[in-house]
């Protein structure tokens, strides 16, 4: 971004060299720099403790885990920038996993079954948006309710069991373990979704308006931005991306399952977004930071698992990380410690 000075008055100019350094750090983002350093630290520590950590097979394991949660984290970033939250994404992923596997069993048509799962995800997202905007329900409460309801819906559909088997089909196999130009298909899907959302946020008027809504929704409304339309569309997008995650989950395991592999993803997604620099009050954050945070979480979780740290402890660690990330955000925003936080 260029900086045009509008006739800066005398005595108002910062020293040129210091300003350059500041600009550079500003461009990369101090937060992103810290995340990169943290990733390096984690990789070095676990790499030294356990040589298997850096084996290609293990990196693949990390990448798989990061892809599914990463999709949800990226779309959660958009929701949080609006100043909202979607904690139903993990359940929607479960629904899509079940729907895609059941539809494939019934039709043997991979593309159609994936398409159906995406349509179902879209509907789940729209339902969230409509409940929040027209039902006037706080986003946390609304999606807490649909977190339970969508999970129940997936369990009803599947009777709580694994559904179908999809890995007899070329397209499902390609998504599960295929690769393009040496990179696994999974990574391509995450990269495509992340890039599309990044471009949307940074380079289009739609993205600009999303930041405006999160920054000051009154100002956005006075500027003529149709906030309702934006919020519903953002929740719909969250539903669609959750469905993509559900399809990948089905492809990876070979089965559709209502909860296995998908429950708990909402916590990962929100933690990654918060660690990546999204302010939960809205208006701040980006895809890059979120992805870096997701990589950090994935590398950390895998390292802990390899070293036989119980998942109980991992849950404690993940919860603690989310709290720490939000405390840092709030400290930075300079909010006074009086009464309930905003």
């Amino acid at each position: 971004m260029t900086t045009t000075s509008v006739q800066a008055g005398p005595g108002e100019q910062a020293p040129e060299s210091r300003r350059r350094l500041g600009d550079l750090i500003g461009a990369v983002g101090a937060q992103n720099l810290i995340l990169v350093l943290a990733i390096v630290l984690v990789v070095v520590v676990f790499g030294v403790i356990n040589p298997g950590y850096l084996a290609w097979a293990n990196i693949r394991v990390i990448a798989d885990a990061v892809t599914i949660a990463g999709l949800l984290a990226v779309v959660q970033t958009v929701v949080i920038i609006c100043g909202a939250l979607d904690i139903s994404v993990g359940s929607a992923t479960g629904v899509a996993s079940v729907v895609s596997a059941m539809a494939f069993t019934a039709t043997q048509n991979a593309l159609a079954s994936m398409g159906l799962a995406i349509v179902v995800g879209l509907v789940l997202g729209l339902v969230n948006g409509v409940i929040i905007v027209y039902g006037r329900v706080n986003p946390v409460i609304a999606t807490l309710a649909t977190l339970a309801a969508y999970r129940g819906f997936a369990q009803l559909l599947s009777n709580g069991a694994a559904m179908g088997f999809v890995l007899g089909d070329d397209l499902w196999i390609f998504i599960s373990r295929g690769s393009l130009l040496g990179l696994p298909t999974l990574m391509w899907i995450l990269a495509a979704v992340a890039l599309a959302i990044h471009l949307l946020l940074k380079y289009t008027d739609i993205g600009r308006n999303i930041y405006a809504i999160g920054g000051n929704d009154t100002a956005a409304r006075l500027a003529g931005i149709n906030i309702n339309k934006y919020l519903i569309a953002v929740y719909a997008l969250a539903g669609v991306v959750s469905a993509i995650a559900g399809i990948i989950l089905t492809a990876r395991t070979g089965f559709g399952h209502p909860t296995s592999g998908s429950s708990g993803l909402e916590l990962k997604a929100i933690t990654a977004a918060a660690l990546g620099g999204c302010a939960l009050a809205g208006g701040k954050g980006g895809v890059g930071g979120t992805l870096l945070a997701m990589v950090l979480l994935g590398a950390l979780e895998n390292g802990l698992t390899l070293n036989n740290i119980s998942t109980f402890w991992q849950n404690v660690a993940q919860g603690a990380l989310l709290v720490i990330a939000v405390v840092i955000q709030q400290r930075r925003s300079g909010e006074r410690a009086v009464g309930l936080p905003t």
């Binding site: 900086t3 800066a8 308006n209 006075l222």
Partner: protein
């Protein structure tokens, strides 16, 4: 000044639920002039402005723009006419920079992509045209600006669009002496450039310093709209506090304006 009003309201009623805030309000705004809109707290000044801006739908009354009767159903309609409002709470996004705020909701694109270079150039031109020298960088976040700078950005945002009417709701209420003087100077310059300017203010000194006309609201009724040169401070204060002053103002508290 023989020109007719660029914007004229007649018989405006506005209620919020059971509470009627505006009663049969008439209001005219002239090009090249600053019209001060005065009135006590709660008189309905901000409500009138929001009706003009299309934020609140009016219950009854007529809205004329350049002599034509028009319907204004939202902020975009008002903007399309060339009516821009600087709201009391400024309505800026702290998380966005100056250029982004100036184009909020009306971003320029080339194809699908934001045209940042063009927006920055237009913003720079507008600020330069207003002789604004107090802003260091157009890519500064608005949260880092002082009260006067924020007000300046909000005003520049309003004039960016070749607007014909600019309405400022208490632009100097939160400012110090020096910054108030700067903003008033800017207000006068807008009118001298041919814009019709409406200035809401509580400060009689400010009102008499820059305005050509004064419109006084009293409990949601237009008590009087007069030339500034025809009235004194104390007459205006009387209009604000009791709705009448000698021959001027409302008859028996609820009659028509003189």
């Amino acid at each position: 000044m023989s020109q007719g009003p660029v914007l004229e309201l007649r018989g405006i009623d506005k209620s919020f639920g059971p509470v009627q805030v505006l009663h049969d309000v008439a209001f005219s705004v002239y090009p090249g002039e600053v019209t001060a809109l005065v009135g006590d707290n709660g008189a309905g000044k901000s409500t009138l402005v929001k009706c003009i801006g299309g934020i609140h739908p009016i219950d009854a009354g007529e809205y004329f723009f350049e002599g034509e009767k028009v319907q204004v159903n939202g902020p975009r309609d008002a903007a399309a006419l060339g009516v821009e409002i600087v709201y009391q709470d400024l309505a800026l996004c702290d998380n966005l920079d100056i250029v982004q705020n100036m184009f909020l909701g009306r971003e320029r694109t080339s194809g699908l992509v934001l045209d940042e270079a063009m927006m920055e150039e237009m913003a720079a031109k507008t600020l330069a045209g207003l002789s604004v020298r107090t802003v260091k960088s157009l890519r500064q976040q608005v949260s880092s600006l002082s009260g006067g700078q924020r007000q300046t950005v909000a005003i520049a945002k309003a004039v960016l669009w070749n607007s014909k009417v600019v309405i400022l709701d208490e632009p100097t209420a939160a400012l110090g002496v020096a910054q108030t003087a700067q903003v008033l100077e800017l207000v006068r310059r807008l009118a001298d450039n041919g814009l019709a300017v409406v200035l809401i203010s509580h400060n009689m000194n400010d009102v008499f310093a820059v305005s050509d006309r004064i419109a006084a609201l009293y409990l949601g009724r237009m008590a009087a709209q007069v030339r500034t040169s025809d009235v004194t401070h104390s007459q205006v204060v009387e209009l604000i506090t009791s709705g009448r002053s000698g021959e001027l103002g409302l008859r028996n508290g609820n009659g028509a304006a003189s």
